[in-house]
């Protein structure tokens, strides 16, 4: 539990990650948002590990949201897929977010690697056209997500 939250707590470190890739987020429309959730919490919501789930977690999600021309990190509470209010969601397995933060020189490269290795799982809440209209093309490309194409 502590491990799952620890990676979320250093908001300043996550803001540095985002700022390091500012050009990727420039095309995003105001309000565009990405969520990062340790898989621990998602599994717990899905009642698989409910015994380990605290009744009211105070921090279970990071939200990257475009506000005032900048992608900003803010803490959030994950209550399941419904009504989440993000466009993309990353569910991170044990240690995955820590690994992203640890790779200071290229954290998104590490995120891409974790996605490929299925240690981070990815969900979309928008169609391709909507994502394009919201300005996600570069970000999605940088993470290699289009390569997870259908029927291969």
């Amino acid at each position: 539990m502590d491990v799952a939250v620890a990676a979320l707590e250093d908001l300043a470190a996550w803001q540095r990650v985002i700022d390091g890739y500012a050009p990727l987020f420039e095309p995003l429309a105001t309000g565009a948002a990405v969520g990062l959730v340790p898989r621990f919490f998602a599994d717990a919501i899905g009642s698989r590990r409910s015994a380990a789930m605290p009744s009211t977690p105070t921090l279970s999600m990071l939200e990257w949201r475009k506000r005032d021309g900048r992608m900003r990190v803010q803490p959030g509470i994950y209550r399941g897929f419904e009504g989440l209010g993000v466009d993309l969601l990353f569910l991170a397995g044990d240690g995955a977010l820590e690994a992203v933060l640890a790779r200071e020189e290229h954290p998104l490269g590490e995120m891409k690697r974790q996605l490929r290795a299925a240690r981070i799982q990815f969900f979309v809440f928008r169609t391709k056209r909507e994502l394009r209209d919201l300005g996600y093309e570069d970000f999605v490309e940088a993470l290699g997500l289009p390569f997870l194409g259908a029927c291969r």
């Binding site: 599994d43 899905g46 009642s47 399941g80 897929f81 419904e82 969601l89 490929r116 299925a118 799982q121 990815f122 969900f123 979309v124 809440f125 928008r126 169609t127 391709k128 909507e130 994502l131 570069d138 999605v140 490309e141 290699g144 289009p146 390569f147 997870l148 194409g149 259908a150 029927c151 291969r152």
Partner: protein
């Protein structure tokens, strides 16, 4: 009926079979692997579809599965833009026609019922699933959780659809979970997170399937029911079922009395390949073998990435499965089974796994086939090969895919065809591509082998080592009635005219053809398919490779279904890639590259130009006043790729 020569060579595949009370003439099942998208937006079957099914009905299979129809009037089960519907009797006449075609062709007829679940609701603002689990691909609709009433209604609609199919004359029905459709959504713990009796344990997750089977069996007690189930979802890394759970679910289906299990592999969202060209044939056979061993009294059908009849025959002989389920190879060559049966296997046009078909489906387009230009045009007489009214002498310049496709098509129509080729063999630029392909060169080389065989059998004359130019043409005056320029394309070296040190550049095509041996440190300018293939191959063979691309992204001219593969190879091989970058100077030691971050130097022994390609169009001007008919096709018109080359070569061949 007399046994044909190939049938005795593959005795297991061609022996009679049976499903339920219905005998089959062989153990080949045409699988409804994907929908055609040829139909009405309202689910009605069109003349285009009927014409295609008439061809499929005559493929020679023992069992033919008609493509998946969605069973609900709301369209929640509808996955594809122009998918067929079977929720009302108003659709019956066309289904009756298809069933009749199949029976007339000598096969038993199976109708697949396809509720797409999390991939459905294409015309709606939502899709339905056992639980709300968003998709991992940005193509689908937001999910809604099914209530128990929804589940009951869904089972009822499947049963009604099965009844309707039988009423239309089909002998049996099939329900599919492939590749991540509703049935799979219930079965998988990835998408089924319900806490009621339909979720949780494998037994509970399988409840929907058991009710579905029960409902359909009760509705059509005298007709076989086939169920398509994953032997592997390939979603286990993301919380889906592992292989053992997949087989537990199969056991439940067997206990419910299904007549056949069609074993499949993978979901659309699976993070790894299942049916692409990078998967070797036979790779998944172990799943079928496990199913057969586990359920010896239930028929097992299998065909994922098993495109070869000989291999299928061996598998049946070994008891690994009972029916060879085949679809895409029959799209590539609807005559395949007959060619095998008649011992003409060398004439088969192999499915090369380009996945052009599926790439188009996911863009809401009708599917087509790289290897079969007539697919989807069966209803149009203009696409049929008919004897030419006027027999002509046709010269084709270039023995690449476009030229050869045109040549053999024209020859089938009765024309006398001569192909002039500057190199010493058939293949054109495909040869160079195949030589460096990391996926499966044999697929590409099979295209060349096919042309070699057909040219020989059709009497197409091949003149190698012959450079076609104005002087050559003058020597040919009045000897031919028509000329087809299929001379391909070349690297546009003029694009580098202003580049300092351009004389040091090496042409990527020359590298691909082995005319130039690059050094150990290589820079490739241009990360389109030519540059990528060369770069990947050189890197694989130990060179240090840097790709420089002016565009934002690599693989801009690569087929959508294969872009990811190149990107993954570039990463896996650790090929340095500089996008939004331009080479400003080439020196003896390397290249200077400019981009938004400034200028950088990349050391290199060899600098390969793989930038824009230019059509070899000069011959059109040279030949214009020298021949009655002058035509062109393929890259000679505009540089593209194999698909366009074959399609255009054929279209030209059927009308000269």
């Amino acid at each position: 009926m007399t046994q044909r020569p190939g049938e005795s060579q593959l005795p297991h595949l061609f022996r009679p079979g049976r499903i339920g009370k219905f005998p089959t003439r062989n153990l080949i099942k045409y699988g409804a692997c994907c929908v055609s998208n040829y139909n009405g937006r309202d689910g009605t079957i069109t003349p285009r579809e009927l014409a295609r099914m008439r061809v499929i009905a005559n493929t020679g299979c023992g069992m033919i599965t008609n493509q998946g129809a969605y069973p609900d009037p709301r369209g929640e089960g509808k996955a594809y833009f122009r998918q067929v519907a079977i929720f009302d009797d108003k659709f019956l006449p066309e289904f009756e026609t298809i069933a009749r075609y199949i029976h007339d062709g000598g096969a038993i007829a199976i109708q697949q019922i396809l509720h797409a679940g999390r991939y459905g609701g294409i015309d709606l603002g939502y899709c339905i699933q056992p639980s709300v689990v968003p998709q991992t691909l940005p193509h689908f609709r937001p999910p809604r959780e099914m209530t128990k009433d929804d589940i009951r209604q869904c089972v009822h609609e499947h049963a009604e659809a099965a009844q309707r199919a039988v009423k239309a004359g089909f002998d049996g029905t099939e329900v599919t979970s492939f590749m991540g459709y509703l049935l799979a959504n219930f079965n998988s713990k990835f998408t089924n997170q319900r806490t009621d009796e339909y979720g949780g344990s494998t037994k509970n997750r399988g409840r929907f399937m058991r009710e579905l089977i029960d409902g359909m069996k009760q509705a059509t007690p005298d007709n076989p029911l086939i169920i398509r189930l994953n032997g592997a979802e390939l979603m286990d890394q993301w919380g889906g079922n592992d292989e053992d759970e997949c087989f537990e679910l199969m056991a439940q289906a067997v206990d419910c009395g299904v007549d056949m299990i069609s074993v499949t592999v993978g979901w659309q969202e699976a993070p790894e390949s299942s049916i692409g060209r990078d998967i070797p044939p036979g790779y998944w056979n172990h799943l079928a073998a496990r199913a057969k061993k586990s359920f010896p009294d239930t028929l097992i059908a299998f065909g994922n990435r098993l495109p070869d009849a000989g291999m299928a025959n061996d598998c049946i002989a070994k008891g690994e499965f009972d029916f060879w389920e085949v679809c895409r190879p029959l799209l590539a060559d609807p005559e395949m089974v007959h060619k095998v049966a008649e011992g003409r296997t060398d004439e088969i046009r192999r499915c090369i796994g380009s996945l052009n078909c599926l790439s188009r489906l996911f863009r809401d387009l009708p599917y087509t086939c790289t290897m079969n230009p007539a697919l989807g045009h069966e209803v149009e007489p203009e696409y049929a090969i008919t004897l030419a009214t006027v027999k002509k002498k046709v010269m084709v310049i270039g023995a690449g895919p476009a030229g050869m496709e045109c040549a053999i098509t024209a020859a089938k129509r009765g024309h006398a065809v001569t192909v002039f080729e500057k190199s010493d063999r058939i293949g054109g630029s495909l040869l160079g591509y195949a030589a460096h392909d990391l996926a499966r060169p044999d697929d590409l080389l099979s295209v060349i082998r096919h042309y070699e065989v057909m040219a020989r059998k059709l009497g197409v004359e091949l003149k190698f080592n012959t450079e076609a130019n104005a002087k050559f043409m003058r020597s040919m005056l009045h000897q031919f009635d028509a000329c087809v320029v299929a001379a391909g394309a070349r690297t546009d070296m003029s694009a580098y005219d202003r580049l300092e040190g351009r004389e040091r550049l090496v042409d990527a095509i020359d590298v691909a053809k082995g005319k130039v041996q690059p050094g150990k440190r290589v820079v490739v300018i241009g990360a389109g398919k030519v540059g990528l293939v060369v770069a990947e191959s050189l890197r694989k063979n130990g060179a240090e490779v840097t790709l420089v691309e002016e565009e934002k992204r690599i693989a801009g001219d690569v087929m959508p279904s294969f872009k990811w593969r190149h990107s993954a190879w570039v990463e896996e091989l650790e090929i340095r890639t500089l996008t939004l970058s331009r080479v400003t100077r080439v020196t003896a030691d390397g290249v200077h590259v400019a981009n938004g971050k400034g200028e950088t130097f990349v050391a290199a022994d060899t600098v390969i130009a793989a930038g824009p390609r230019k059509s070899n169009q000069e011959l059109f001007r040279d030949f214009e006043w020298m021949i009655d008919e002058l035509h062109g096709c393929g890259d000679a018109i505009m540089p593209r790729g194999l698909d366009a080359a074959i399609q255009e070569g054929y279209r030209l061949g059927v009308r000269i």
